[in-house]
């Protein structure tokens, strides 16, 4: 994370007595339903980032330094397929904010092969190289170990019903903005 120190604040004008800030209600005063709702929102964010940490830790342990967690998950989602960038974007998994950049980096480091379509010169297809497929196998092995642990913890069924609820929440949010997108951008 960025640890750059902040610049000091400009001195505030002291007009007589410092005007107190208007109080904002504390989150502790949220109703239980609201607390649960806000917690669900935080959880989605934290889980998303925590899983990326898990993948990064796996790459670190394997001594892989030329691909990051987001890129590794893009590779994992391409697998044996041959896709255009557009198709990949529609899948919407772990693409981060800069698909083209990530694809270019992975091609540079030999994980991906990019090929122009013979039919449409503007369309570039990507597929994994042997190096990319080897990384997929590493992630497969990681998932297998995690699945064993999840089964051992009896967490599978719980996750399944939790995901049913969270899918309803997802649909609710989609309805809130009135249209749906496969992969909303941040």
């Amino acid at each position: 994370m960025n640890r750059t120190p902040l610049r000091p604040a400009a001195p505030r004008p002291r007009s007589g007595s410092a005007e107190p800030l208007r109080p904002v209600p504390a989150s502790a005063r949220h109703s239980p339903a609201k607390g649960t709702y806000l917690e669900a929102i935080h959880l989605a964010e934290r889980l998303h980032r925590q899983f990326l940490e898990v993948v990064q830790a796996e790459l670190n342990r394997a001594g892989i330094g030329d691909v990051n967690n987001v890129q590794a998950l893009i590779l994992f989602n391409i697998r044996e397929d041959e896709l255009t960038v557009g198709e990949l974007t529609n899948r919407g998994y772990y693409l981060g904010s800069n698909v083209s950049y990530n694809l270019r980096k992975m091609a540079e480091h030999g994980y991906l092969v990019q090929e122009r379509s013979p039919h449409d010169r503007r369309s570039v297809r990507v597929r994994l190289s042997d190096k990319g497929l080897a990384l997929c196998r590493l992630l497969d092995a990681m998932f297998e170990r995690q699945l064993d642990a999840v089964s051992g913890m009896q967490l599978g069924a719980e996750l399944k019903s939790a995901s049913n609820v969270f899918r309803l929440l997802e649909r609710f949010w989609i309805s809130q903005i009135g249209y749906s997108r496969a992969a909303p951008r941040d």
């Binding site: 994370m1 960025n2 750059t4 902040l6 610049r7 000091p8 604040a9 800030l21 208007r22 904002v24 209600p25 504390a26 339903a33 609201k34 649960t36 917690e39 669900a40 935080h42 959880l43 989605a44 964010e45 934290r46 889980l47 998303h48 980032r49 925590q50 899983f51 990064q56 830790a57 998994y93 092995a141 998932f143 170990r145 995690q146 699945l147 999840v150 913890m153 967490l155 599978g156 069924a157 719980e158 996750l159 399944k160 019903s161 939790a162 995901s163 609820v165 969270f166 899918r167 309803l168 929440l169 997802e170 609710f172 949010w173 989609i174 809130q176 903005i177 909303p184 951008r185 941040d186």
Partner: protein, 172 residues
């Protein structure tokens, strides 16, 4: 669906765990992005252009408190990749103010300005509307236990990034 497990259903159960696990991973990413989209949409409706969705959620989570940037990072609320940048932008646009700690000159606290509080109130109203809209549905009732399952998963993942020799060993 698979509440009563029989020995014969073992294989199916294995597959189901596999699916649930991968689905959960994908779902958390989609949820996170979808929620950011909801907030972006709300800011657009409010005509707020100098604050983005990630920033507004940092602002919401600061609330009436004062935090150092380090504390904000540790709390891990919607900070994206660059806490300092987002905080600086919100200070520039008058949503936050910074103050050096009187005890530790290196430590800078941030808190909401009146403009920041006004946005906080709008977001709080948005959350209230959403909670009301959800109240009638079964989603609300089940959300607490769903949170519980996700929290167990979170703890499991936290262990994986710390130490778990039996989980990190590689074949070869």
């Amino acid at each position: 669906m698979s509440a009563q497990m029989t020995a014969r259903a073992f294989q199916a159960k294995e597959e189901s765990v596999h699916e649930s696990y991968l689905e959960t991973i994908r779902l958390t990413e989609r949820l996170h992005r979808q929620f950011l989209e909801v907030v972006k949409n709300e800011l657009e409706k409010l005509g707020i252009e100098d604050l983005n969705n990630v920033q507004s959620l940092i602002l919401f989570n600061i609330g009436k408190n004062e935090y150092t940037v380090g504390e904000l990072t540790a709390r891990g609320y919607y900070l994206g990749s660059n806490v300092s940048y987002n905080v600086r932008k919100m200070v520039e646009h008058g949503y936050l103010e910074q103050e050096r700690s009187t005890h530790d000159r290196r430590s800078v606290h941030v808190r909401l300005t009146a403009k920041g509080i006004a946005v906080w109130e709008k977001l709080d109203a948005m959350f209230d509307r959403q909670v009301s809209a959800l109240a009638a549905s079964e989603t609300a009732e089940e959300l607490e236990s769903a949170n519980g399952a996700y929290k167990r998963l979170e703890r499991f993942w936290m262990q994986l990034t710390e130490f778990a020799p039996e989980l990190v060993r590689h074949a070869g």
